[in-house]
C-alpha cells in the first residue's frame, strides 16, 4: 500500500542491464583460549554459552565435546567494502555465535549472506527481520567485487589505512562475543597459556549450474596474512547449497589453524636446546594437557565438504606440520626423562624402564 504513494523505484527506469543474481556468504571466525586454569566440563560450557534465555545451547560429545550458543542477531545498515571502491550499502542482520571445543578453545563467528535488494528504498525494519542472517545490497556490484573487498578489508588494521571508515565490521561483533564469554562468572580467568586471538575471514560463493565443467569443481584459497590473520575464499558447486555447513567448515579450519599457530608459537618461545628439557616441558605442558588431543581436522565437517581438508592436507599440509610439532614435543618429554637421573639416578632409571615396559605391553 505505501508503494503507491512513492515514485517508481529507480531501477524500473531504463538503465544498465538488470543486475545479475547475488549470493555471497561472508563471515569471520576468531579463536582463542578460554580463560580458565583448566579445561571446563560440559555443564559449565553450556552455562557459558547460554547467552539468550529464549533459546538453546546445542551440544555434542563426539568426537570431542563441543557446544555452540544460540545465534545472536545484529542489525546493520552500512557501507560494504568492495574491491573496486564502488559504493555499496547493505541493510540486514548478521548472525553471530560462540562455541567451545574440548572445554578449552573458545571461538566466535559472525556471518551474513549478501543478496540483491529488491529495490533501492530501504524497507521497514521488520522486513529484514523475517530473514535473519541476510544483508540486502543496494548497489549493482557483483559477487567478485564484494568478495574482493571483504577479504582485502582485513588489511585495514594496518595503520597506513587511515581513518576507519564505517564498513561492515564482523570482527567487532565477534570480538564482543568473545569478551562476553570471557567475563562470565563460571570461569576463573587464570591464564594457563598465553595465546593470541587469530582471525579468519571467509567468503563463499556458489558456481552457477550453467558454468559448464567448472560448475562441479570446488576450490579453496587460504591466505595467511600475518601471525594472526587469515582469509579463505571458497567456491562451491551449486549442489553444496547449505551455507550453514560452509560456516562449520570454516570454523573447523580456523580451530585447527589456531592449534597449529599456538603450539608452534609455544615451541618457538620455549627455549628448546637452551634451557634444560624439564624447564621446556614445564612451559609446553599446558599444550600437552589440553590441546594435543583436539587435532581432528574435518571431524565436524559435512561429507560433501570433505574435499576441503583433502586439498589443504596436500598443500600446505596441516597435519604434516602438526605431526612434526608433536614429534618435537615428544622429544622434549623424552629428554626431560633422560636428563632427570642427575637428581635421583637409580630411581629415575627404574621408573623410565617401567614406562617403556608399560607401553610395549599395551601396544
Amino acid at each position: 500500500m505505501p508503494a503507491s504513494t512513492r515514485p517508481a523505484p529507480a531501477r524500473a527506469r531504463a538503465g544498465p542491464a538488470p543486475a545479475e543474481n547475488l549470493d555471497v556468504l561472508v563471515g569471520e571466525v576468531r579463536t582463542t583460549l578460554l580463560q580458565n586454569s583448566h579445561q571446563v566440563g560440559a555443564d559449565t560450557v553450556a552455562r557459558l554459552l547460554d547467552l539468550d534465555p529464549g533459546r538453546r545451547v546445542l551440544r555434542a560429545t563426539r568426537p570431542f565435546t563441543y557446544a555452540v550458543s544460540p545465534d545472536e542477531r545484529v542489525g546493520v545498515h552500512c557501507p560494504l567494502p568492495t574491491g573496486s571502491g564502488t559504493r555499496a550499502d547493505g541493510v540486514g542482520t548478521v548472525l553471530a555465535r560462540a562455541s567451545v571445543t574440548g572445554g578449552i578453545i573458545l571461538q566466535a563467528s559472525a556471518r551474513a549472506r549478501l543478496v540483491r535488494a529488491a529495490g533501492e528504498r530501504r524497507l521497514p525494519w521488520s522486513h529484514y527481520l523475517t530473514n535473519p542472517g541476510t544483508i540486502e545490497v543496494g548497489a549493482r556490484c557483483g559477487a567478485p567485487d564484494l568478495t574482493a573487498g571483504f577479504l582485502r578489508d582485513s588489511a585495514r588494521s594496518s595503520p597506513a589505512a587511515g581513518p576507519a571508515r564505517e564498513y561492515l565490521d564482523l570482527g567487532a561483533v565477534v570480538n564482543r562475543l568473545l569478551n562476553q564469554v570471557q567475563r562470565m562468572p563460571y570461569i576463573d580467568r587464570v591464564t594457563m597459556l598465553r595465546a593470541r586471538r587469530t582471525r579468519l575471514r571467509f567468503a563463499v560463493t556458489w558456481r552457477s549450474p550453467d558454468s559448464g565443467e567448472l560448475a562441479e569443481s570446488p576450490d579453496i584459497e587460504l591466505v595467511v596474512h600475518d601471525e594472526t590473520s587469515r582469509t579463505v575464499r571458497l567456491r562451491l558447486p551449486a549442489s553444496i547449497s547449505d551455507p550453514a555447513e560452509a560456516v562449520v567448515a570454516c570454523e573447523d579450519l580456523a580451530l585447527h589453524d589456531w592449534l597449529l599457530t599456538t603450539v608452534a608459537n609455544l615451541m618457538e618461545n620455549s627455549r628448546i636446546g637452551v634451557d634444560p628439557a624439564a624447564e621446556v616441558v614445564a612451559r609446553i605442558r599446558p599444550a600437552v594437557d589440553h590441546l594435543l588431543h583436539l587435532w581432528m581436522p574435518g571431524a565436524r565437517v559435512a561429507e560433501d565438504l570433505g574435499w576441503m581438508w583433502t586439498a589443504l592436507e596436500r598443500r600446505p599440509g596441516f597435519s604434516r606440520q602438526w605431526t612434526s610439532l608433536r614429534g618435537q614435543i615428544q622429544n622434549q618429554l623424552l629428554l626431560a626423562v633422560l636428563e632427570k637421573p642427575a637428581a635421583a639416578p637409580t630411581h629415575g632409571n627404574l621408573v623410565f624402564q617401567d614406562g617403556v615396559e608399560g607401553i610395549s605391553h599395551r601396544a
Binding site: Q35, A160, G171, Q182, R189, R194
Partner: protein
Amino acid sequence: MIVFATSDKGGTGRSVTSCNVAYRRAMQGSDVCYLDFDFGSPTSGAIFGVEAAGQGTPTGRGLHTYLAGGTAEAEQFDVWTQSTLGGGWARPLGAGRLTLLPGDAGGGEFPVNKQMIRRCTDLFLSLDEEFELTLVDLSAGRSYATELVLRATADPVLAAKTTRWLVFHRWTRQHIVAASGLVHGTQGILETGAEYGHRKPDLEDGIRFVRTAVLEPESPQLASLRPEQSVWLQSYDIDLQRLAGKMRLGSSLMIGSIPLDPVLQWREQIIVEDDISTTRIANAETGQAFEALAERLTDKSLWEGL
C-alpha cells in the same frame, strides 16, 4: 600481570622510564604491551620512535576513542617493526613481543562512566590473554585515568589478575611529599581505591616506588664538586632518606632507582645496547637500572606484604 605507572607530578620521568622498562622486559623474553593512558598528552609513541603515533594516533582508533565507545578495537603497533629508532630494531632473537596501544592525537581527558569501565576491563582481559605484562602509563596526579583503572580493577572479573602499581618520583623533598600524598593522602590511590571496593591492604601491597633521575652523592658525575658542596649533598641526602622513610616510601618500598642520564636529560628515548657500548652516549648504569626494574616487576620476594 597488569602494571600501572603513575606519579603525582608531571615531568617526573614516568613515561620514559616505563617505556624503557617495557623494552627491557620484552628483550628478556616476555610478551609486553604498553598502554598510553596519559589522556591529557599521549606521547609514548615518540619515546618508542613509532612515528605513525608520535603524539597519539591520527586514525581515530586510539585508546581515547576505544574507551569512549567510538571504535570496537584499539589500534596496536608492533614496536619492533614500526619503530624508526636505532635502525635495526627488528625483533631480536629470543625477545618477546612489544606492542604499543597509543592514545588519539588531539585526545583529551574525559570523565569516567560505567560503559567506559566495562570497555576498560574488556581491554585488560583480552590483552592479558596474550601478553604476560600489560604496562599502563597513567596521567600524572589524581586523574580520570587513575579513577578509571581503580574502578576497572575493582571489578571482580579482574580479580584473578595480578595488578601492581609503580609510583614515580624524583629525589627531592617536594617530590617525596607529593608521591606519598598521591598514595596515602586524602583522595589518594588508597582512599579512592577503597571507595571503589578495593581492600586497602591488598592495594597497598601492590604499590612500590621508583626514583627517577637520581644523582647518587658518590656518582662520578659529581666528582667536580667543591668539598663544601659534597658535604652538604651527603647530609641532605640522608635527610631525604629519613623523610622518605617517614612518608612511607623508604628503601624497603623502593623497587628501582634510575640514575640521572645525560641522554635522557636531552631526549626522551629508549636506551638500547648500542647507545651504551657502541656510541657510548648513555651510561651503562642507566641501562642496568632499567634492566633490573624490568626483572623486579615479577620478583615475588620484592612484592610480599610488609
